[in-house]
């Protein structure tokens, strides 16, 4: 039944393109704009969101090029500089936590590792966990949300109960518990690899109901729309409707919720590392730096301020960008 349906669309495509070309040649005044284009134009006008987006891009570049950057600057994140440490108090000798031309963000107390290099490398962990766990959540959430909304009945009841249950779980506690019972070696990974893998999976797993709920609701309301009915009466199969009619319309809310989920995940990763169940030293992460800074907040406050500000700027940038994307894609938006 679905076969004849494909043919008209295949034929329609070139004719639509021709039409567009003709129309474009004749009159440039009126142009149809896609949702993506409208959203992009709105986003371009939102200065705060753009700033956030640019900061996010810079952070991504920094994370990818971390080893290169620290090489150019000439600082190894794991190298000790004990000559810069006051042997009596264990704090850096220079002012402001040892900030100098060589060590832009100062050095750590006791062993004198370069904080700039460790921040740059820490960005990799934050962004990696933030993005990948969001992807895990999006995949599970979209699949289960669509299934619940599309099929209804007991499938919906089951998935909805699971989502409600997960949302009512004391999440941080369960994430800590899960991460801490995981072994140090699995699936051919070891050390930091396992930690990252487990964190990504667990954070993603606890995040999917947020996306799942939205996707389910959207699917539920779209299932009865006229265009779906039209496709159905033309003889379209379930999967055709699912992939060609429903999913494209779910892209906008999914994008919005993904961008809003990344900063939350980054905060969770930092919290786990802060509590000592995240990545283990010597791999550097921002949360871990803050946790070791607790002991020095009186004698070396810069040690605490720098990773804290790094987390703040990153999360703020993602939040600004996320708010902007939401405003740009939201059809209810007043602009």
């Amino acid at each position: 039944m679905t076969a004849p349906l494909h043919e008209p669309t295949a034929e329609a495509a070139p004719s639509a393109a021709e039409e567009a070309a003709v129309a474009g040649a004749e009159a440039k005044a009126v142009q149809g704009r896609s949702l993506g284009r409208i959203a992009w134009e709105r986003l371009k006008r939102d200065k705060l969101a753009l700033t956030g987006g640019i900061v996010v891009l810079v952070l991504i570049v920094v994370a990818i090029l971390a080893p290169l950057i620290t090489n150019i600057v000439g600082q190894d994140p794991d190298a000790y500089h004990e000559d810069l440490i006051d042997p009596l108090f264990g704090t850096p000798t220079g002012s402001l936590g040892g900030i100098s031309g060589d060590h832009w963000f100062g050095v750590e107390p006791v062993n004198g590792r370069d904080i700039f290099a460790r921040i740059v490398h820490g960005a990799r962990i934050s962004l990696l966990v933030g993005f990948l766990s969001a992807i895990v959540a999006v995949i599970i959430g979209t699949v289960l949300g669509v299934l619940a909304g599309f099929f209804g009945g007991w499938v919906d009841a089951l998935i909805s109960r699971v989502m409600d249950g997960l949302l009512a779980f004391p999440q941080l506690l369960f994430i800590i518990a899960l991460v801490s019972v995981m072994p140090n070696q699995m699936l051919g990974l070891s050390g930091t690899g396992v930690r990252l893998f487990v964190m990504i999976l667990v954070i993603g797993f606890f995040g999917w109901p947020y996306i799942g709920r939205v996707v389910r609701g959207q699917t539920l309301s779209m299932r009865e729309r006229e265009y779906v009915e039209a496709a159905r009466s033309l003889g379209a199969g379930r999967f055709y409707i699912l992939f060609k009619e429903l999913l494209p319309n779910l892209v906008a809310p999914i994008i919005v919720y993904t961008t809003m989920m990344i900063p939350t995940n980054i905060l969770t990763e930092a919290a786990l590392s802060f509590l000592g169940v995240g990545v283990k030293p010597p791999t550097s992460s921002w949360g871990q730096m803050l946790s070791s800074a607790i002991d020095y907040y009186q004698s070396d406050p810069m040690y605490m301020v720098i990773p804290g500000v790094a987390i703040f700027i990153t999360v703020l940038a993602f939040n600004l960008f996320g708010d902007g994307v939401r405003d740009a894609l939201d059809p209810k938006g007043s602009r």
């Binding site: 009512a168 004391p170 369960f174 800590i176 518990a177 802060f274």
Partner: protein, 332 residues
């Protein structure tokens, strides 16, 4: 109304059973798949095979998970006796397990630490409700003004700041540099003013994060509701703006916030882990973190269960309040 409550209660009990099973799954099945012997984690890493075997027998770790979960469940109401390897350990009535690592029953430790966590969560909740709701409602009513933009910038910063960073900052500024507050924790029965002084910074720090979240959500909800038809109707029939806001808009704004409050308070009962760690408060959160770092599973299990119970109770209370506030729920 009664049928609704019974249904909610039933759902809560089912949820609790599920949580117990999941907790057992996490601590007993996951290590098994991963090839880690949990008996060793109850004793300590350097334990000799004999004492590991004794603990395994004593805790019944060889039994199927369901039997173990049942034994645990029974222990909560009837108490439990651990015996094996020659010695016997008693764990009386509300037995939430026994830690062989620290040689103490879990329950007394939980009850000792719970009041600290409760005081932290409730005190902060009062603050964040007052400031979060006020800021959110004002922003929604004065949309686009300088106040609105200012408040929302602060709120956005608030949700972007990790609590352990604001906590450390406030300690460094108010306690260390300015010397206004002595941030040491003092038990309540020792000195009220000392206790109050020690709790001020934790309260404010925790409340700042939640107030920011609540302000953002209150503003969004309020703005959506102000666009509803029944608000227009209320205005059209000549009600004063104040009455429209107070009686019509506020009531609908509060319902979703109530759900949030229930969940947030419930989750905090299990220990505001980050806040307690930052300020060295001897609450449940710090205990569970210690337990995790020492791989002291009975304590982790106990705290997870208490938290889950708190979340369930909080949700149940919210459900009941819902039924009281919103007639639609009662009939549904």
């Amino acid at each position: 109304m009664l049928a609704y409550l019974i249904r909610r209660l039933f759902a809560a009990v089912v949820m609790l059973v599920v949580i117990i099973l999941v907790v057992f799954g996490i601590f007993f099945l996951v290590p098994k798949w991963a090839g880690v012997d949990i008996a060793t984690s109850f004793v300590g890493k350097q334990a000799d095979p004999a004492s590991v075997e004794a603990v395994r027998q004593k805790l019944g770790l060889g039994d199927p998970v369901f039997v173990q979960a049942w034994e645990f469940f029974k222990g909560i109401f009837a108490g439990r006796t651990y015996s094996g390897g020659g010695d016997v350990t008693q764990c009386s009535a509300p037995c939430f397990g026994y830690s062989f690592r620290s040689e103490q029953a879990v329950w007394p430790v939980l009850t000792e630490r719970f009041p600290v966590t409760l005081a932290l969560a409730l005190g902060a909740a009062v603050l964040w409700l007052i400031f979060g709701l006020a800021a959110g409602v004002l922003s929604a009513l004065k949309r686009g003004t300088l106040w609105d933009r200012g408040a929302m910038v602060v709120a956005l910063a608030g949700v972007s700041l990790p609590i352990y960073f604001t906590g450390l900052l406030s300690l460094a500024i108010f306690s260390h540099s300015l010397g206004w507050i002595n941030a040491e924790f003092v038990p309540l029965d020792e000195s009220f003013s000392g206790w109050f002084g020690g709790m001020i910074l934790p309260w404010i720090t925790l409340a700042f994060l939640y107030a920011a979240m609540y302000a953002r959500i209150t503003r969004a909800t309020m703005m959506e509701i102000l666009g509803e038809d029944y608000i227009r109707t209320a205005r059209a029939k000549g009600l004063r703006e104040q009455v429209v806001i107070r009686k019509h808009a506020m009531r609908s704004t509060l319902t979703p916030l109530l759900t949030m409050l229930g969940m947030d308070l419930g989750a905090l009962m299990g220990g505001a882990i980050l806040t307690e760690t930052t300020f060295s408060l001897p609450g449940l959160g710090q205990k569970v973190l210690d337990a995790i770092q020492n791989q002291d599973l009975p304590f982790i299990l106990g705290v997870v269960l208490i938290t889950s119970l708190a979340v369930l109770i909080a949700n149940l209370v919210v459900d009941v309040l819902y039924a009281v506030i919103d007639p639609r729920v009662r009939l549904a």
